[in-house]
């Protein structure tokens, strides 16, 4: 059986817990994250995605319920350091996460503060910059980089701490299409090398590439499953104020008109092949 690396049990969270009728940002979350998986968490603004993400490395602790990381309860302050070394986080705006004046110094900042010795520090910085494809820029000033490059430096800084889990909280939402691709490529390489990825995103085309998709609504898990299972339910997604990825939407519309058309296609390639196969069959039948 797969190893559970993060477990959330009946988690409630309110930003104003003292209120007479607190608004629950998280409303009873039960979740197990498995070591090595690529989990995407989607949901509209205000559905609780970022609040949940902040529970994974004890930036927030539950108002009610428990979160364990590698069996350590996030509520226990003695475990904070161990938990934050296990779970790294990258946020939305890269400029807010960069602290040093040179790329390599920024990447070294975390491990250097943990007292990692110089040889090991150099190895880690080299490795982290290589994973995100930024070795060439190591002597550059971060503020002269593009947004996609800065975000890759922020990821390098997080992985230089060698976390087992990397949480990306809408880390591509401020980037242009090329910048998004750069970051996603780096994340995929990390996942292939064994890092558990939890990607909070509202880009469905990103979530399509995950092993598992979780849909949040009003602080509850409203749907979960493989991307194909989740995204083929266009009407349910619409109730949750989400759009299916474009090709899943197109497949659903065609399936509604012609029931033999498969309802669960996700990518342009799958859709193009299905259409061309059907056109070919008609041509053969006709001629």
């Amino acid at each position: 059986m797969e190893r559970v690396i993060i477990r959330a049990q009946d988690v409630y969270y309110s930003y104003e817990p003292g209120a007479a009728q607190p608004a629950w940002a998280l409303n009873g979350i039960d979740l197990e994250v498995y070591a090595g998986e690529y989990l995407a968490i989607v949901g509209h603004n205000g559905s609780g995605k970022s609040t949940l993400a902040r529970h994974f490395n004890a930036l927030l602790t539950p108002s009610r319920g428990e979160v364990w990381v590698n069996g350590l309860n996030t509520r226990d302050a003695r475990h904070r350091l161990a938990i934050r070394s296990t779970v790294g986080m990258v946020f939305q705006v890269p400029d807010n996460q960069i602290v040093a004046t040179l790329v390599e110094e920024d990447v070294a900042f975390g491990p250097a503060n943990l007292g990692v010795p110089a040889d090991e520090l150099k190895r880690r910085v080299d490795w982290a910059l290589q994973v995100v494809g930024m070795q060439k820029f190591r002597r550059q000033a971060p503020h002269l980089l593009s947004a996609g490059q800065k975000q890759r430096v922020a990821i390098a800084g997080a992985i230089a701490l060698q976390p087992q889990v990397l949480v990306l909280d809408e880390s591509t939402s401020m980037l242009d299409p090329a910048g998004q691709e750069e970051v996603l490529d780096a994340v995929r390489r990390l996942n292939q090398a064994g890092t558990t990825i939890i990607a909070i995103t509202h880009f469905m085309h990103e979530a399509v590439k995950a092993d598992r998709v979780l849909v949040l609504e009003n602080g509850r898990i409203a749907m979960q499953g493989s991307p194909r299972q989740v995204f083929s339910q266009r009407d349910r997604l619409r109730e949750l104020q989400l759009d299916a990825p474009p090709m899943a939407d197109l497949a659903a519309r065609l399936h509604a008109r012609q029931p033999s058309f498969p309802p669960d296609l996700l990518t342009v390639e799958e859709m193009a092949l299905e259409i061309s196969r059907r056109v070919g069959r008609r041509r053969e039948a006709g001629g």
Binding site: M174, P177, R253
Partner: protein
Amino acid sequence: MDERQRLFAQVNDLHHTYLRGTPLETVALRGVSMQIRTGEAVGIIGRTGAGKSTLIQHFNGLLRPRQPGRVIIEGQDMSDPTLDVRALRQRVGLVFQRPEQQLFERLVGDDIAFGLKQLGLPADERRARVRWAMELVGLDFDRFRNRFTFSLSGGEMRRVALAGVLALRPRVLILDEATSGIDPRGRRELLTHIAEWRQQSEVTLIIVSTNMDEIAELVERIYVLDDGRVVLCGTPRQLFADPVVLRQYGLKVPQVSALVHRLSELGVTMPRVPITIAEAADDVWTILNS
């Protein structure tokens, strides 16, 4: 009517350099020319660093043109040092990237009403306009007006900032990636509402974005900027016909347009380049049943 008055913006050979004459000198615009008609909806697209934000800051006098560049806004030469930019800025509303950083009041309603108060509008008019602007951006007036601004989610903060500008009812609305970070569904609803309002009240709308998908259905024309130059200009359908060229500028066509290109590689010809999923569904249905 005089041709010049019917143009919102006329830009000729505009150059701009940041930190000119220092070692950090960066050229942002390298000779941009364009025209935007009053009442038109135009997209300005390009990758990060293409010069989009620098360009539009010339539209309300935040930046001024240098020789030989010329920028004429509503018939006024923006290089004229005696120009009344305050009057211009009341007509031209500009919402920047990360508008949530523009919030400063404690309560949502007060924040949206701030500009109206400065204009000296009476309380009932202010209230009506705040309600109208909140509806336009998809925030329920009764539910949100007394919420603390700091307790909002990122997407909600962006809506509040946008409502604050809309409440002023500008004649020209410029959105500089003001909707990034709002979820796609909410973003499209928001932009659709703004587009409807634009048509009713003949507002000029300029949307700056890195994302073709979100503006394809909303704008009549698109200018593509790259490295400080206008590299392409046309209707969305004209531009999406060539995904290879767009990719070269770091941009992606919508997936429904990409599908048509992949199909043509597979020997299946579609009748047109679709912009929306509904159009694509009609086209695929037609070729599967013809």
